[in-house]
């Protein structure tokens, strides 16, 4: 390395480099340590609320309400709040179950419909294809807060045919509105990375469009599909506004809304059970995320880096 730099024309500089090389180990190690130390506040900041949730949920009410005791630490551990959640609230029986059902069904619908659409927009040539692409981008950017009022009317209109009002079916109907544009937008990028030649070979072997899609393109786009599934699931799990607006029945609520509307009672807050609920409601998504972290990262960044 140093002999390489020595052969370069700028002799003065090479001298400096070799000097620097001699003292790197110590210097570089310190810099590395400083790097980790500088990162710690960020990590602590990111995880702080989760720590508070866990610690508070494991404390007795008496200890929570003893304001002279440190709120950062628990002296005795109790599982009372979790037992309370299971026995006295609809947390596990209704809200968790509803959330799983809504997230699963709307993910299946959105990913299958979105995959077909994204494939057409990325690959096929027909009049208006660019226009559809732009439309997908625009609908992706239309926020839920702009649509929740008129969607009440749509839900009521559907309700006069099939009873969906105040049930989780109203959410299964409306969640695809923000999931499908996202899925299409994500998958269009993935489909474009698959070489056209692969498909042409499939056609030469006698595949129809659909069988080429299912046998050749989809297996190659699997990382993208997994990514779309994970994101749809997470977005549906975390959705709050539609669920708050469309559902009043306690037994039909999803996690976020159930915890927010049913566990905050009166002026005395039951922090223990509230924090237990917040933590338990976040666990499934965080566990899912920890297993598929790379997919989440690629899904987040695929739009920005291209």
């Amino acid at each position: 390395m140093s002999s390489d730099t020595a052969t370069m024309p700028a002799m003065a500089k090479s001298e400096r480099t070799s000097l620097a090389l001699n003292r790197t180990p110590m210097w570089r190690q310190r810099k590395k340590l400083a790097n980790y130390l500088a990162l710690l506040p960020y990590i602590a900041f990111a995880l702080f609320p989760f720590y508070i949730m866990v610690i508070t949920s494991l404390k007795s009410n008496q200890e929570i309400n003893n304001l002279s005791k440190s709120p950062f630490w628990a002296t005795g551990i109790t599982t009372d709040h979790y037992v309370y959640l299971a026995q006295n609230t609809g947390f596990f029986d209704h809200w968790l179950l509803n959330t799983v059902i809504v997230a699963t069904v709307s993910t299946v619908i959105s990913v299958s419909v979105g995959t077909l659409g994204a494939y057409a927009l990325a690959r096929l040539r027909f009049r208006g294809v660019e226009m559809f692409g732009v439309a997908v981008f625009i609908t992706y950017l239309v926020p839920q807060s702009l649509l929740f009022i008129p969607l009440i009317n749509v839900v009521n209109a559907v309700d006069s045919v099939v009873p969906i009002r105040d049930t989780y079916w109203s959410l299964i109907l409306t969640y695809p509105t923000f999931l499908i544009p996202f899925v299409m937008w994500l998958l269009m990028g993935y489909f474009r990375t698959i070489p056209v030649e692969v498909e042409e070979c499939a056609y030469l072997d006698g595949c129809s469009r659909l069988s080429a899609l299912f046998r050749v393109v989809l297996p190659m786009a699997m990382p993208g599909i997994i990514c779309a599934v994970l994101f749809s699931y997470t977005l549906s799990w975390n959705e709050f506004l539609y669920s708050l607006v469309f559902i009043q029945d306690q037994a039909a609520k999803t996690l976020s809304v159930g915890v927010f509307t049913e566990l905050i009672r009166g002026d005395i807050y039951y922090w223990g059970s509230l924090m237990a609920a917040c933590f338990t409601g976040a666990i499934p998504i965080v566990v899912l995320y920890s297993f598929f972290m790379d997919y989440y990262v690629s899904g987040l960044t695929s739009g920005a880096i291209k």
């Binding site: 508070i52 950062f72 077909l116 057409a120 009049r127 702009l146 969607l151 499908i180 960044t301 739009g303």
Partner: protein, 320 residues
């Protein structure tokens, strides 16, 4: 030879079938329409139609459970001239978006640069950073609600019990009851939730910058500072623009954090478009005013999108 001359003669060609004429006018892949049909139906009936309905509501005196009639721009005029909370909503939304996005860019860049340099526990650090973004916002915001609660606040506890703060006599602060502090708290929690998106995306952008640019700069004697300003930042600009675009849109339209922490209070000081529209449309049953408030968001969003997309395009052109 004979076959070739036959093809060359126009009158010998059979008339075009319906299918191939269709092909000529709409392109070779007619089945493409079939592929996009399901998503088009859902998008038209659940996004385009409701959007049109929102426009109609905003021009009517629609009230829950009553027939609506057309009243022109009265709702918008009422909001702009009579309603004294709306200017606050406008101010809050702009402050909320600008401050929180600016903080996310600044700290996101620093954190991404730090994350890029570490080697051991790389996955742990990156993974932990992203958790606030994937966890359910309403639930994590309830966690912040406890941290900011005037009586139980962890911050007030530190100010009271931990030296040297205990000597200063600061607090207890009413984080969610004092107007300025409430708006700051809401922005802070939004910053907490949105930061990971910036960190992870900027990190991906940093990794995609080719090493040879830095090596070349080093040979030319560039300092770390030079390398950051002359290579890292210019090459990150397209990535930054896209991240800022998405973040600004979702921050402008945010509902969850404000609704869970303050419900727009104290005294309507922290309302954003979404929460204010919810107050009108759902709590006061005045759908017309609710829809009108949420539609004010639309020009602001459109302006942001066009402005930032232009910036992105200019950058791409510059790279080429």
């Amino acid at each position: 030879m004979v076959a070739v001359t036959n093809i060359g003669r126009a009158e010998a060609r059979p008339p075009l079938s319906v299918r191939s004429r269709l092909r000529r006018s709409v392109g070779p892949d007619i089945d493409g329409y079939g592929f996009i049909l399901p998503s088009a139906i859902i998008m038209v009936s659940l996004v385009v139609y409701p959007f049109g309905l929102a426009v109609w509501y905003s021009l009517s005196d629609a009230f829950i459970g009553q027939p609506a009639s057309f009243i022109g721009l009265d709702n918008f005029i009422y909001i702009l001239t009579v309603d004294d909370i709306f200017p606050k909503v406008l101010r809050n939304t702009l402050l909320f978006a600008v401050i929180s996005v600016a903080c996310k860019v600044f700290f996101g860049l620093i954190c991404a640069l730090l994350l890029q340099r570490i080697t051991t526990f790389k996955r742990f650090f990156r993974g932990a950073m992203l958790i606030p973004f994937v966890a359910p916002t309403a639930l994590t915001t309830l966690g912040w609600w406890l941290i900011l609660d005037p009586t139980y606040s962890h911050i007030n506890w530190i100010l009271k019990h931990v030296w040297p703060f205990s000597e200063m006599g600061l607090g207890p602060y009413q984080f969610l009851a004092d107007p300025t502090l409430a708006l700051s708290s809401v922005i802070f929690v939004n910053f907490w939730r949105g930061l990971p998106f910036f960190v992870i995306t900027i990190l991906a952008g940093l990794v995609s910058i080719p090493d040879h640019l830095y090596e070349a700069a080093e040979i030319d004697g560039a300092s770390t500072w030079d390398k950051f300003w002359k290579i890292t930042l210019p090459l990150l600009r397209p990535v930054l623009a896209v991240v800022i675009l998405f973040s600004t849109i979702f921050t402008l339209a945010d509902f969850n954090i404000v609704f869970v922490l303050t419900r727009g209070g104290p005294m309507n000081e922290t309302h954003l478009f979404a929460t204010y529209s919810y107050t009108y449309g759902i709590l006061n049953h005045d759908i017309g005013l609710g829809a009108a408030v949420s539609l004010f968001l639309f020009p602001i969003l459109a302006f942001t999108v066009i402005f930032l997309l232009r910036l992105i395009r200019r950058d791409t052109a510059y790279e080429l």
